[in-house]
């Protein structure tokens, strides 16, 4: 038995009574007794499947029954049950204010846009009023920066703290050879400003973090994710969801890429697709696995296209669809993405309401943590010591666990090549009591190989710290780095 308070608009279904006392031992029983007494009320509170409508919250006295025992919450005499709608809302990207009118020079510059009816003056003004944040000025950021600048976006923020490196030039076309050693953010901003002098560029020369992300993102209409690591991807996603800003997503690996738009109203987010990050080290980065230099061009320009479409409000945006691109097969495929109602950040019962520690979440060391460069851990050996062993003619086996095509780029002639994937099948080629040193490119894969050997009972296994890159730095500069 409990008293149910009837909201004003529903009193027409309860013979104008503002409160009805009905029998029942639980909240569920009370509500079902109420709606059988007043059948017209049923449609107001329950949907066709008999579930509470999404906007209805049920309170027992002052508490939401979701946090008690839901339908089974006991209702005693003297208890009051209230039906409270959940209400929220908000405007979306604002219409362009009039001061974004185009100048005569701009009308000339954007004439090929202006004569497309779907863009026109109104669309170009929307682009001019738009504020886009580019996270990363690397492979994806390069085409994005160039084309978004050219398209007439009014304000572009760039987040990057990296320096241009020779290995970037194969794909990051916004940087030129003369820029090697410069900050990417300066090099990119210079090219973009050159293309479009009226573009406002805001440089955020920092690593995006849980501490600064909301503060940086809040000033932009939408975010384009051009990052290459999982912690930042989850960070960008969560920040976009919390702020209600679309996240135009892209990712690349070797010959394949993906693109979609996350975190729009009602659309899925990155966590709906991948609730958990992959185990650390399972998915190689471009630095580890390589990437066709042209690939980020294709994917970045798909992101740029979707960005411009979102701002213009035209076409069919890539929301709820994951576009997969295979450069070798030259094929595009599409997967349907659904919003996960149980998503911890964008679902109905969200558990993530503020930014978390994303490095910990992804199981990777935080960049701010002291680097482990200095100490040689147990089971590791310095490149210089390996060199000394070779020079002394020590009895030991040096194993290179890279791939044959990497071995062709550079190698240490004394090393025996056993690619990591073949190690478990080729253990019989090795002596369990031998002194073994394993190396790869940088030390990641060789660490895994050391683990495999130790598990198999090998006694004296060490990982050559820093791999062949360290060998090139400290032992033999004639060995090319890649």
């Amino acid at each position: 038995m409990a008293k149910v308070l009837i909201p004003t608009p529903l009193r027409q279904f309860t013979a104008k009574q503002d409160a009805v006392t009905v029998p029942g031992g639980t909240v569920g029983e009370v509500l079902s007794a109420l709606t059988s007494q007043y059948p017209d009320l049923r449609k107001q509170i329950f949907n066709d499947e008999g579930k509470l409508r999404s906007f209805v919250n049920v309170y027992l006295n002052d508490e939401d029954i979701r946090y008690l025992s839901k339908d089974g919450t006991a209702a005693k005499e003297g208890d009051t049950i209230s039906l409270v709608p959940s209400i929220a809302g908000g405007s979306t990207i604002a219409a362009p204010p009039s001061e974004e009118a185009l100048t005569k020079d701009e009308i000339l510059r954007y004439s090929r846009h202006l004569i497309i009816p779907e863009v026109g003056m109104e669309g170009q003004q929307k682009l001019k009023a738009a504020k886009v944040l580019l996270v990363g000025a690397g492979g994806l950021g390069a085409p994005l920066g160039l084309y978004l600048a050219a398209a007439g976006i009014g304000k572009i923020g760039i987040v990057d703290f990296d320096v241009v490196d020779f290995t970037n030039l194969q794909r990051q076309v916004i940087h030129s050879t003369a820029d090697v050693g410069r900050k990417k953010i300066d090099s990119a901003a210079e090219k973009m400003q050159g293309i479009n002098p009226s573009l406002k560029i805001v440089k955020h020369e920092t690593a995006l973090s849980s501490e600064n992300a909301l503060g940086i993102l809040k000033d932009y209409d939408l975010v384009v994710d051009g990052t290459d690591n999982f912690p930042t991807r989850y960070l960008v996603n969560d920040a976009c969801v919390l702020l209600g800003k679309p996240n135009v997503y892209g990712s690349i690996f070797r010959f394949e890429g993906q693109a979609t738009i996350f975190a729009t109203e009602g659309g899925p987010c990155y966590r709906c697709l991948y609730p958990e990050p992959p185990p650390p080290g399972l998915v190689p980065s471009c630095a580890e696995g390589g990437v066709l230099g042209i690939l980020p061009g294709t994917i970045g320009l798909i992101q740029a296209t979707e960005t411009v479409k979102l701002i213009l409000g035209i076409g069919d945006p890539l929301i709820g669809r994951l576009l997969l691109y295979d450069a070798l097969g030259m094929k595009f495929r599409e997967l349907k993405l659904r919003k996960n109602p149980e998503c911890p950040v964008c679902g109905e019962h969200r558990t993530i309401t503020k930014l978390i520690d994303y490095h910990q979440f992804c199981g990777v060391p935080s960049p701010s943590a002291p680097a482990q460069e200095t100490a040689v851990n147990e089971g590791e050996i310095e490149v210089t010591e390996v060199k000394a062993k070779l020079d002394r003619g020590d009895q030991f086996v040096l194993i290179d666990v890279r791939e044959p095509h990497e071995y062709k780029i550079c190698n240490i002639p004394a090393a025996k090549l056993i690619p990591l994937g073949e190690v478990p099948q080729r253990l019989h080629e090795l002596d369990k009591d031998a002194d073994i040193v394993i190396h790869c490119k940088s030390g990641m894969r060789s660490a895994k190989a050391c683990g495999i050997l130790k598990q198999a009972g090998f006694q004296h296994v060490r990982n050559m710290k820093g791999g062949i890159l360290a060998w090139s730095d400290k032992v033999d500069p004639s060995v090319p780095k890649y």
């Binding site: 004003t8 107001q44 709608p85 209400i87 929220a88 809302g89 405007s91 219409a95 209600g244 109203e265």
Partner: protein, 138 residues
């Protein structure tokens, strides 16, 4: 048809201007007779959206419950919800619609550059797919 008396209207507009450039939200109390609604009291409520509030608002159910209680105490009814759209038209956005409720009138105030510009009242449907414009006077 919904009519807002001068006193609550002043409260709503000043709440929306004060909250600019963020969105404000609140409850409207009054009476309703055969679809003729009269708002006599406006109660500003806190925007509980956890994030940037320039384009979003969220009402705490507890606050709504308290507003409903306040209405009952004054022998009035909770008849509507108001919120503002800073630098944006007083339309009923998709976000508004998907987080709405068909029981109440939703008054949206457009605040342009910090000043009141125009307002509309909306009546969302059950499925949260459409909202009909309701005649509004103030």
């Amino acid at each position: 048809m919904i009519r807002i008396e001068p006193e609550p209207w002043k409260v709503m507009v000043s709440h929306a201007r004060k909250t600019y450039p963020n969105e404000c939200c609140g409850a409207m109390l009054g009476s309703s007779l055969d679809g003729e609604k009269l708002v006599s009291v406006a109660i500003p409520l806190e925007n509980a959206f956890a994030g940037a509030q320039a384009q979003r608002y969220e009402l705490r159910p507890e606050d709504l419950l308290a507003a409903d209680k306040a209405a009952r105490e004054r022998r009035m009814d909770l008849i509507g919800i108001y919120h503002s759209h800073p630098d944006c038209d007083a339309y009923f956005s998709k976000t508004d619609l998907q987080n709405s409720c068909p029981w109440y009138s939703f008054v949206v105030l457009s605040i342009q550059k910090g000043e009141f510009h125009h307002a509309n009242s909306w009546l969302p449907n059950f499925e949260q797919t459409e909202a009909a414009k309701e005649e509004l006077s103030y």
